[in-house]
Symmetry: C2
Subunit: 232 residues, 2 copies
């Protein structure tokens, strides 16, 4: 190991995203300590080398401690590092993106976080604004060719609810026929409760969601699946 060079501080920050009021929101809390005491910041923490088996474990532990929840989706974003992002000196932050449905957060009864629309952020501590921007870009991009948005919904959802989710992520509306053909789904053909193969994006359940109109089939996500072609 290097001897005559200072080791930079290493931490993990989490961009926890959810859908609220028809748009992407990020979870922020008010810092209680310096630096940036009083400022809004992302949840984050240090690696506990005795217990954390990898960085994902660190991220999960931090979220568990602060929300009591495990996110439905968790993915490493990238490292942010340098001498100026933290006034205490050279630091490395490994940034994670987490997705969770708003219902889960509300049921946890957690009062630490406030949610802010990602397209209208207040001033933030450290380089957290850049981390959020980068995370949103990743989510929007990955949503354009995959089933990523499923993890912003509860486990079972209707196709229309899923379409609304895509629309809220992109901020624009889609054609229903196009949306369903991209998913490769004809509701009348699907057999509930089976996953034919890995290429199948969604799994039909045997439950329906009714309202004051024709009931809709409920689906679950099979896995993080890719569309044939990208969307743009």
């Amino acid at each position: 190991m290097s001897t005559h060079y200072t080791t930079p501080a290493v931490s993990v920050d989490i961009v926890l995203l959810t859908l609220k009021n028809q748009s992407l929101h990020v979870a922020l809390h008010q810092r209680q300590q310096d630096p940036f005491s009083g400022a809004l910041a992302l949840p984050g923490g240090y690696i506990h080398t005795e217990e954390d088996t990898d960085l994902e474990a660190t991220a999960k532990r931090v979220l568990q401690q602060k929300t009591g929840l495990t996110p439905r989706y968790l993915e490493q974003l990238r490292c942010f590092a340098g001498p100026v992002r933290d006034p205490r000196g050279w630091s490395v932050a490994i940034s994670y993106v987490a997705l969770i449905p708003l219902e889960a957060l509300e049921q946890s009864g957690n009062g630490i976080f406030h949610f802010f629309a990602v397209d209208a952020l207040p001033a933030l501590a450290f380089d957290h604004a850049a981390q959020i921007q980068s995370a949103v870009q990743r989510v929007r991009n990955k949503s354009s060719y995959s089933t990523l948005p499923c993890w912003l919904l509860p486990e079972a959802f209707t196709l229309t609810e899923l379409q609304r989710t895509y629309e809220q992520i992109f901020g624009e509306t889609l054609s229903r026929g196009t949306f369903r053909s991209r998913l490769g789904i004809k509701v009348s053909d699907v057999a509930p409760g089976e996953a034919a193969d890995d290429a199948q994006l969604l799994i039909a359940t045997d439950a329906m969601k009714g309202g004051a109109q024709r009931p809709a089939r409920l689906f679950k996500v099979n896995q993080l699946g890719l569309f044939r072609r990208a969307w743009w």
Copy 2:
């Protein structure tokens, strides 16, 4: 800062890729020190907090020291971390992908590195095999929808040379007509030496490359540009 938890060691590793013998090759050197003394490994180094302005600067400095070169393309891949990847304990490696034409490496007369085909790797130190696999996946994926492969060629190249580069990255051949329409280029229409707009992927030079046949127009890359649709 955390007090009663050990700070993990932080380093930067570089997956330096080039094209050799019709396929992607990675630069490896033989380690002189423990751990893994004698084993093949990626170039890497520690952060110098006094001089490095960010992680990209660290990566560039390490490459400069070991090859005397600045790569044509450099991008952060992701972090690899955990208690077992380095026998000395919990460590964090930030992995970078670098692209460079083989000619540049050969001209530098550097003797440290050996090049290995990425699809037939020997045993490697640390988790470097996983880093390489991840880097190759990133390069293949990004090549399917962008001008990334241009940075594996010298500054000026013909369209056929570029097509061969794509083919060598993917390991399969392409149709020439399709390739050119994806690039949006009709050679007879282009005006040398101008960049009409940012959407223009390549810039025509006024030079031609001749052989025992009709000479071909030489092009330069404009910027990292995206195709309209992905390729798969």
